[in-house]
């Protein structure tokens, strides 16, 4: 690699604020989640057999129209962008509500969008996802980073482990050496086996295919490009979910430590705690800028998008985990209980830090993109 001395090319200035429409969308989603996905409901749901509340999904996907935000109107969607989808994910992170939004409405949808140009089965499936009538997931391990999609199966035969939300998906998008297939979850030869996940609010499953049949959506090369695009959007918007998690953790910790008294004072008046929460606030504020930057770069199709996504993931993963860990610690004994929702956030944050590539993996992507090569 040659050394370069010129300054880095500067991207166009991103819009890092929220529009009024985005704030309105946020209010609608927040109100719905407060109603349908309050903490006790979410905790109870983790112990039920059905990982998702179908009425919540219907209200979010269809009622609010969130499922089709990324899909153009002519394909049956809302014709909005990653900026709006990011706002939905902030709210889903803030409530750790179980919903296949990231996997179906972002990653699977974005993958199909790369293939739907000339109609065909991809466009038809996209319409179904956009309406929220059906859900799909990309059948790759949840930890797969965008720059390095895991080796695809040779054919529709074999096993893919640790697919997020596969247990609730109607359709599995399976990348193989022959191209990308859409396989019905109920197709003969396809078996989805639930796993016990660290994050109770996002089920994982193993897909086993034995000479299954599916619809070919794309040839190998187009398939690889589409999968990469889906994963890039997933990684980029995951940062907004992480922001939402961190925000909830900070807000709740501040609220609790203002009220909880020990040594005849609110524990939140002790400087050792105040400084930790102030530090977290700074991290949350910074995570917001990084997440907004990634969403805006994806929305505008900026050439800066891969870097914006890598920076956001390299930063926001750590912030969400840090916030959730502090939340548990500063709640003391209550923070360790099953009843208190703090653990749901810790589990989601930790799982998210692995999803779509770890912070370290994304830093390696940064090294590549800005030419700071390893020794």
């Amino acid at each position: 690699m040659t050394a370069r001395t010129e300054p880095q090319p500067q991207p166009a200035t991103p819009d890092l604020l929220y529009s009024q429409d985005e704030e309105d969308l946020r209010s609608a989603v927040r109100a719905l989640l407060a109603d349908r996905a309050a903490a006790p409901t979410v905790i109870a749901a983790t112990e039920a057999d059905t990982p998702y509340d179908p009425r919540l999904w219907e209200a979010l996907a269809t009622g609010i129209g969130a499922a089709g935000l990324l899909v153009p109107e002519k394909l049956g969607g809302q014709g909005a962008s990653h900026r709006e989808a990011a706002v939905v994910l902030e709210e889903l992170g803030r409530s750790v509500a179980p919903a296949p939004y990231l996997t179906s409405s972002v990653v699977a949808t974005e993958t199909l969008l790369a293939l739907a140009g000339d109609g065909g089965p991809a466009a038809a499936l996209l319409g179904e996802l956009a309406s929220g009538a059906r859900t799909a997931v990309l059948a790759v391990p949840f930890a797969t980073p965008p720059a390095d999609p895991a080796a695809a199966l040779a054919t529709l035969d074999g096993t893919v482990r640790g697919i997020a939300d596969a247990a609730v998906a109607d359709v599995l998008l399976v990348p193989t050496a022959e191209g990308l297939y859409a396989v019905e979850a109920t197709a003969p030869g396809a078996a989805v086996e639930p796993l016990v996940p660290l994050d109770l609010t996002r089920p994982l499953a193993t897909l086993t295919l034995s000479v299954a049949t599916g619809t070919l959506l794309a040839a190998p090369e187009a398939s690889a490009t589409a999968v990469e695009r889906g994963l890039l959007a997933g990684a980029g918007l995951l940062a907004s979910e992480q922001l939402g998690i961190a925000e909830w953790c900070l807000t709740e910790t501040v609220r609790y430590t203002r009220e909880r008294h020990q040594f005849n004072r609110p524990v939140g008046s002790f400087q050792a705690l105040k400084h930790r929460m102030a530090q977290l606030w700074l991290e949350v504020v910074s995570a917001r800028a990084a997440a907004r930057n990634a969403a805006d770069a994806l929305a505008t199709g900026s050439p800066d998008a891969p870097l914006a996504v890598a920076v956001a993931q390299a930063y926001c993963s750590g912030v969400a985990v840090h916030a959730a860990e502090e939340c548990v610690q500063l709640h003391g004994g209550i923070g360790m209980t099953w009843e208190h929702p703090a653990h749901l956030y810790l589990k989601r944050a930790k799982a998210d830090s692995i999803a779509y590539g770890s912070a370290g993996t994304h830093r390696e992507a940064v090294a590549e993109l800005v030419e700071l090569p390893a020794p």
Binding site: A3, R4, T5, P7, Q8, Q10, P11, T13, P14, D15, L16, L17, V254, T257, R258, R265, P266, G268, S269, F270, Q271, L273, K274, H275, M277, A278, Q279, W281, L282, V285, S286, A287, R288, A289, A290, R292, N293, V311, A314, Y315, R363, E364, V366, A367, V370, E371, L372, P373, A374, P375
Partner: protein
């Protein structure tokens, strides 16, 4: 209040200024004076005081147009305290006469300002200050000692806070003055610092006579006036657009690209982490800027100083280490009294040492964390025992 002028009108006035005073043939100071008089210095200031009562957000367009025409600027590094702290305080609390006397030479850079706040016994706890000002006819007579005063050796004027009533609780007995640093009672002595140079000073005040007309705000209300100064000191970041790799991360990234022989796996990991954090801090500053322009200022400003202080220290520390053998050397320990405050200039060793001040000057990081915790997050204050006690009765 509807703005007196809009963007189009500002553009017209900027072009008129450039036409009447072509930068190529106009003396630097003359140009700056003409710019001030045209109301294009800080457009949000009142007419006649360097501004046009225009929205603050329009300043950028004026600055960009002038920069494109190669017009001289008023080097904020040299006059930072005047521009960033004295000016908004004078504008907020000064009499008409004070505004007319001080703002123009301040902005043009003919008169440099310094800040006589900190004392050996009062740093973070600034309101504990002991410098006395005693009324004598139309004057105040000031005695005391100030310390860590940046640029006092280059300054013409100082903003000064002093105790005017020791019988009141500490926050209430303070008044705020404009002090003539050339007064014979002012003794400025270089205070050599960690870098070898003397950017700041000790300042001894003995029998300094300050006319009452140089008092800012009412007697005894100096703490309130000082809040304006301190707020402006801490929130001065965020006004300008920083390019990618624009801060401390720039030099170390260039070294990495140009000197492959220095690379190690450990420094690579640390560099990448810091590169990402510097980029995120840049974006956070950019978001703050966009909020200001949109008229929705957020509290993020109070965090930016914290973020940059930490980053500057970590990045410059990594840079010294990356340089290996060369990191063992230092450019120059000669004691000089620089006119400019320069964080990023000189070499890696200098940057490393100078950046240690970033978490102390203008409020320590610990004090800023307190401010964020209490004012932004609304966490309870720690119990205190100095609120209703007369200053003279406090233990010291």
């Amino acid at each position: 209040m509807s703005p007196a002028v809009d963007a189009a009108e500002l553009r017209r006035r900027t072009r008129d200024l450039l036409a009447a005073h072509p930068p190529a043939t106009t003396d630097r100071t003359d140009f700056l004076k003409a710019r001030f008089d045209a109301g294009l210095a800080w457009v949000h200031y009142p007419e006649g005081l360097g501004g046009l009562d225009a929205p603050r957000s329009l300043q950028q367009a004026v600055d960009a147009e002038l920069a494109a025409a190669d017009a001289p600027d008023n080097d904020p590094r040299r006059i930072g305290i005047g521009l960033g702290m004295a000016a908004p305080t004078i504008l907020g609390f000064g009499t008409d006469e004070q505004k007319r006397r001080f703002l123009r030479p301040l902005w043009v850079g003919e008169e440099v300002w310094c800040q006589l706040f900190s004392e050996p016994g009062a740093g973070s706890d600034l309101a504990a200050l002991a410098t006395r000002a005693v009324r004598d006819g139309d004057d105040w007579v000031v005695d005391g000692q100030k310390v860590w005063t940046s640029s006092a050796h280059a300054a013409r004027w100082a903003i000064l806070i002093a105790r005017t009533d020791p019988d009141l609780p500490k926050h209430r007995g303070i008044s705020y003055f404009i002090c003539d640093v050339t007064d014979p009672g002012v003794d400025v002595r270089p205070l050599r610092q960690i870098t070898g140079e003397a950017e700041f000073n000790e300042v001894f005040l003995s029998g300094v006579r300050i006319p009452d007309s140089h008092r800012l705000g009412p007697v005894g209300e100096g703490w309130k006036v000082a809040q304006t100064t301190l707020m402006n000191e801490r929130v001065s970041i965020g006004g300008s657009r920083i390019p990618r790799e624009g801060g401390m991360i720039g030099p170390v990234s260039r070294t990495w690209r140009e000197r492959p022989e220095l690379r190690t796996h450990d420094t690579h990991q640390r560099l990448l982490t810091l590169w990402v954090e510097a980029e995120v801090a840049r974006l956070t500053g950019e978001r703050l800027r966009q909020q200001l322009v949109a008229g929705q200022p957020g509290p993020e400003g109070s965090g930016m100083k914290l973020a940059f202080a930490r980053l500057n220290q970590q990045i410059s520390g990594l840079e010294v280490e990356l340089l290996g053998d060369e990191g063992l050397l230092y450019g120059d320990w000669t004691m000089v009294r620089p006119e400019l405050v320069d964080f990023t200039g000189r070499d890696a060793g200098y940057r490393y040492l100078r950046s240690k001040g970033n978490s102390i000057e203008g409020g320590t990081s610990e004090v800023l964390l307190n401010i964020v915790a209490e004012r932004v997050l609304g966490l309870p204050a720690e119990p205190r025992n100095d609120k209703d006690v007369a200053w003279k009765d406090l233990s010291r």
